[in-house]
């Protein structure tokens, strides 16, 4: 029966069960239909969710009209509202969600621990602390403050994220980096940086503190093309790098000795993967603030949807983008005229999952 199904699909079954080949010239891979279905469905949900989100506002536009504008139609007013005013917000959300999810997928896979997401181990908090410092200090200290303002929030967030990641890496290093150590050091780092952020908020003027607080919630309000471009560029550069490195990531899922035996330069591969992940997480945080739990939850959802033994890169990208866009839609529609920051919704979705992980880990540790 299986044979007839294969014949109907016009494919010859592979020699190894569950690993039918997909070959095109020099390129070859394993045909995984479930992954393709997940990617296509997630893309469809993302497009519809984005259209709904774009259509919402003082001047409502129907989903059909939004889609028609996106594919080149619509009248001039619609084109202006959709493309110039509203698309950047949703696009920023999708790109940031995708970037956070890929960063989470890489870190979770490298550490072989679902808790090793950038929002748990302090990397987004490092980016936030730097950004809050810029918001708070830029108005106060004359020339120094002006310089900080000029350097800009995105650059500060990126530097903060990279600096935090480097510190965690150095502190967790004991003849190599082990997943659990990385998570513990990261959680400690997160707590320290959280305290720093709070101190900055207390020390700040009320107005700056309020501005920083909105940013800290993770918000897509008033996002323009200037927010889309940095995260878009980061994705265009770093996601292909992640997809290339994903092959090595597969080998790193075993112990270090096995990976070395397979010809993987373990430390170099791990460092390259960490740099890609931190870059994505920091740029995403710089664009929209630390949108909570997207990096933690999306890769885990993607892994279960695809049925893979580790967080998959491409599926995480699509799930993360969809999750943020849908959360933004909920944040803007579910509470009447009050538009909540998107991070509030993702936090409500993500926090129970974090609790579930902690409880399960606790049980496993005791077992």
């Amino acid at each position: 029966m299986t044979a007839t199904v294969e014949k109907a699909r016009g494919r010859t079954p592979g020699l190894v069960p569950g690993r039918d080949p997909l070959r095109l010239g020099r390129f070859s891979g394993v045909w995984r239909p479930r992954t393709v279905v997940v990617l296509v469905v997630a893309a469809a949900v993302l497009v519809v969710g984005a259209a709904l989100n774009i259509g919402r506002g003082e001047f409502p536009i129907s989903v059909g009209e939004v889609l028609s504008v996106l594919f080149g139609g619509g009248d001039q007013a619609q084109r202006f509202i959709v493309l110039d005013l509203r698309l950047p917000r949703t696009l920023t959300g999708a790109l940031v969600g995708g970037a956070l999810a890929v960063a989470g997928a890489i870190l979770q896979a490298v550490a072989r621990n679902p808790l090793a997401a950038p929002d748990i181990i302090g990397i987004t908090m490092g980016a936030s602390a730097a950004a809050v410092a810029v918001i708070v200090l830029s108005s106060g200290f004359g020339a120094v403050g002006a310089l900080a303002g000029a350097v800009g929030l995105p650059v500060a967030a990126l530097l903060g994220g990279l600096l935090t990641a480097t510190s965690i890496y150095v502190l967790a290093w004991r003849r190599g980096v082990h997943g659990f150590r990385l998570v513990l050091v990261g959680i400690g780092m997160n707590a320290i940086l959280y305290a720093l952020v709070n101190w900055l908020l207390i020390a700040a003027q009320v107005y700056e503190a309020a501005r920083a607080q909105v940013w800290l919630n993770g918000s897509l309000n008033a996002r323009g093309w200037e927010h889309v471009v940095p995260v878009g560029v980061a994705l265009v550069v770093l996601v292909p790098a992640a997809l290339v490195l994903a092959h090595v990531l597969g080998g790193l899922q075993f112990g270090d000795d096995t990976a070395r035996g397979l010809g993987i330069r373990v430390d170099a591969a791990r460092t390259a993967l960490l740099v890609v992940a931190v870059g994505l997480a920091a740029v995403a945080t710089a664009s929209a603030g630390p949108i909570a739990f997207v990096a933690l939850v999306s890769p885990q959802i993607a892994q279960r949807l695809v049925g893979a033994p580790r967080p998959p890169i491409a599926a995480s990208l699509m799930v993360g983008a969809t999750l943020v866009v849908l959360s933004d839609l909920v944040a803007r529609t579910a509470f009447g005229s009050a538009e909540l920051p998107v991070g509030v919704i993702t936090a409500v979705l993500g926090a129970p999952y974090l609790l579930h992980l902690l409880v399960r880990h606790g049980r496993e540790a005791r077992a």
Binding site: P17, F254, L262, G263, G307
Partner: protein
């Protein structure tokens, strides 16, 4: 020793069929010296087992032979070339290794595990070539795992799991295989099953095997050569009948024992009397 001298000696080693050589190797972790000035040759097409009491440096030696550990003194030569100077990927096409109690991610299928063995032959754009596919299919069939290809590794029995890992090492297609205690945690019948598989790897597909084993009787039965270690040094090396002797057991293991011929294979059989403690 200069580089040219090493190269000259290298081709002589290859001509003599010595695939792997440890030359005055000292190994340690931090300040602690575990192996001290050790020499060892591994000849083409043999099964060599390293035996010795716990903590004698067997596994440390195997790690150095597999390039997982860099000697603090001396060199390991693979086909006459210093293994630490060879590209990682090149080593992985000649020498495969199976660590003690290896771990696989939850949910990984046997087929996917064995396919990972092809890593040294792959690139990001070439992850499942026709060569990969036939090598994996062959390795699965050869270890009798083809029917279990779609089962998760963590659901297998201990013996099946070890067969899956050996299948992965086989798919890697290396002439040399290093196995660190491949029979750990297995009951006796599965130990025998795994060692018979190792012997077939040697006899039928010409793999040169070096393994660390705990059970002396099984080591004597399934090896061409034994290397007995104590305190980071080789005490004796040679054919099992020459190594497994009553004085050596006393010296290496501090064990009083009778050695009689194994009634099945004729290899030496150790019958313990006591530790004399």
């Amino acid at each position: 020793m200069t580089q040219t001298a090493t190269d000259g000696a290298g081709s002589a080693l290859v001509a003599a069929g010595i695939r792997l050589r440890a030359e005055d190797v000292s190994l340690g972790y931090g300040d602690r010296l575990v192996v001290d000035g050790l020499d060892l040759d591994v000849t083409q097409n043999t099964v060599t087992s390293v035996i010795g009491p716990n903590g004698c440096g067997k596994s440390t030696l195997l790690r150095a032979l597999g390039r997982l550990l860099v000697p603090s003194r001396g060199h390991v030569l693979l086909d006459g070339k210093r293994i630490d100077k060879m590209p990682t990927k090149e080593v992985a096409t000649i020498l495969g290794l199976l660590p003690q109690a290896p771990s696989a991610p939850e949910g990984l299928t046997v087929g996917d595990l064995v396919s990972r063995g092809r890593h040294p032959h792959q690139a990001w754009y070439r992850q499942w070539s026709a060569d990969d596919e036939s090598a994996v299919a062959e390795a699965l069939t050869w270890t009798n795992m083809a029917d279990l290809a779609e089962r998760p590794v963590d659901e297998l029995s201990g013996g099946q799991r070890q067969r899956a890992w050996i299948s992965m090492a086989l798919a890697q297609g290396t002439d040399l295989l290093l196995l660190d205690e491949p029979t750990t945690y297995l009951d006796l019948s599965h130990q025998v099953e795994v060692l018979e598989l190792v012997r077939r790897l040697n006899r039928e597909v010409g793999r040169t095997v070096v393994m660390v084993l705990h059970d002396l009787n099984l080591a004597a039965r399934y090896s061409d050569r034994l290397v007995a270690m104590r305190d980071g040094r080789v005490v004796a090396a040679g054919e099992p009948a020459d190594v497994i002797t009553e004085p050596l057991l006393a010296e290496v293991f501090g064990l009083r024992a009778k050695v009689i011929p194994d009634p099945v294979a004729g290899t030496p059989l150790v019958v313990p009397v006591g530790t004399g403690a």
